[in-house]
């Protein structure tokens, strides 16, 4: 599973990345977490507002820091 966290590096984006890391660690699922800071790549993914979470190429959340529960739910469902 590949989780992409899109964000240019603002406070909220760092926060989102941290929460994703925590959630992954808690669920114990193997996943690579990639931070996307390049606008071009974000646009390619279809992300319009940051922070955004993209799991295996599917946009899960844009423009908001998700909660840990939401992330756990996404990764467990996808498993």
């Amino acid at each position: 599973m590949e989780i992409k966290v899109c964000g240019p590096g603002c406070a909220k984006c760092t926060e989102a990345e941290q929460i994703v890391k925590d959630a992954v660690a808690e669920t114990g699922i193997k996943a690579s977490i990639v931070k996307v800071t390049d606008f071009q790549e974000m646009a390619m993914l279809g992300v319009l507002s940051t922070p955004a979470i993209v799991i295996d190429g599917k946009i899960k959340c844009v423009g908001k820091v998700p909660t840990k529960n939401e992330i756990s739910e996404w990764i467990q469902r996808g498993n």
């Binding site: 899109c6 240019p8 590096g9 603002c10 406070a11 909220k12 984006c13 606008f39 071009q40 974000m42 646009a43 390619m44 993914l45 279809g46 992300v47 319009l48 507002s49 940051t50 190429g57 599917k58 946009i59 899960k60 959340c61 844009v62 423009g63 908001k64 998700p66 909660t67 529960n69 939401e70 739910e73």
Partner: protein, 365 residues
Amino acid sequence: MEKISNNGCACHSESCCPPPSIWKKNKSPAAYIIFGLLLVVVWYAIYRQLEPFSFFLTYRIFGLTHGSHLAEAVQFFLYDTPKVLMLLAIVIYGVGIIRTFFTPERTRKILAGKRESFGNVLAALLGIVTPFCSCSAVPLFIGFVTAGVPLGVTLSFLIAAPMVNEIALVLLYGLLGWKVAALYLTTGLLIAIVSGWVIGRLGMENHIEDWVREMRANANDVPDTNISWNERFLQGWQAVKDIVGKVWIYVIAGIAVGAGIHGYVPEGFMASIMGKEAWWSVPAAVVIGIPMYSNAAGIVPVIHALLGKGAALGTVLAFMMSVIALSLPEMVILRKVLKPRLIGIFIAVVGSGILMVGYLFNIII
């Protein structure tokens, strides 16, 4: 006036992400609505008492002399601070709920393939209700342009989104009355519509950076979040916590500065430098305002005080618009996707629009 560095996100967008599903099982929407109405009634009752209470505190409790500078400044501060914060809270709550209906993705879908002119109007209007922060201006720009939204229409959106926002409108309404707020809303929208349209007419498409024009954006459809009313209410509440939690300090600082000017700077002091007679004051206000970046929360209380001391409305509004609509940090961000010439024209067109609004108000009011 305090400058706020735009270090990355000033985001207060609260678009998608269905909140945890536990909420779905909670109370019915009717319960929320009744509770909400009750809150509004309580809110209004408190709101009505603010002014008498500020007089009571100033003169009875603190025992300050009637008509003294100190008393005036203190009373102004004690009345305006809770008033503005209460207004902010209720409006942000409402707008927060409205915004759950307009994500940037949905706005893009609405705007894609729209003709210019009508598209410009629509884009400016959507700019008010779509959650937006200047740090995601670039992905948003790319997303819009590659989805077939015309350049001018995209720019109308990007001008309106920061300039005409609920915080600016609430503060103008709360401190200067509904007429000024309505004027600001109308002229702000007009500037966004006309500037976007003009740039569209100029055919500047080849001044978008090449890599943007060459790329094909993934039309990755964001799942249309089907969220319940309860979740919308919760998101509205979240918006209040986010935004009020972030801007209250600027509101208080702004009102404190305003109170200082209110009580101590002599009446008519600003008239000579920011009054109607000084023709150069409007362009000067715009030129000074562009490199500055502040949010509406910090600047409105200051202009309130300036107005009270004889500064002309047009000059002051032009200053405010150029501070919050044209900012250096946003230009730096947009430079990634726009070539320098287009940035220059963007600033020039929007700046002239603001200039005209400034003169117009100075003439008619």
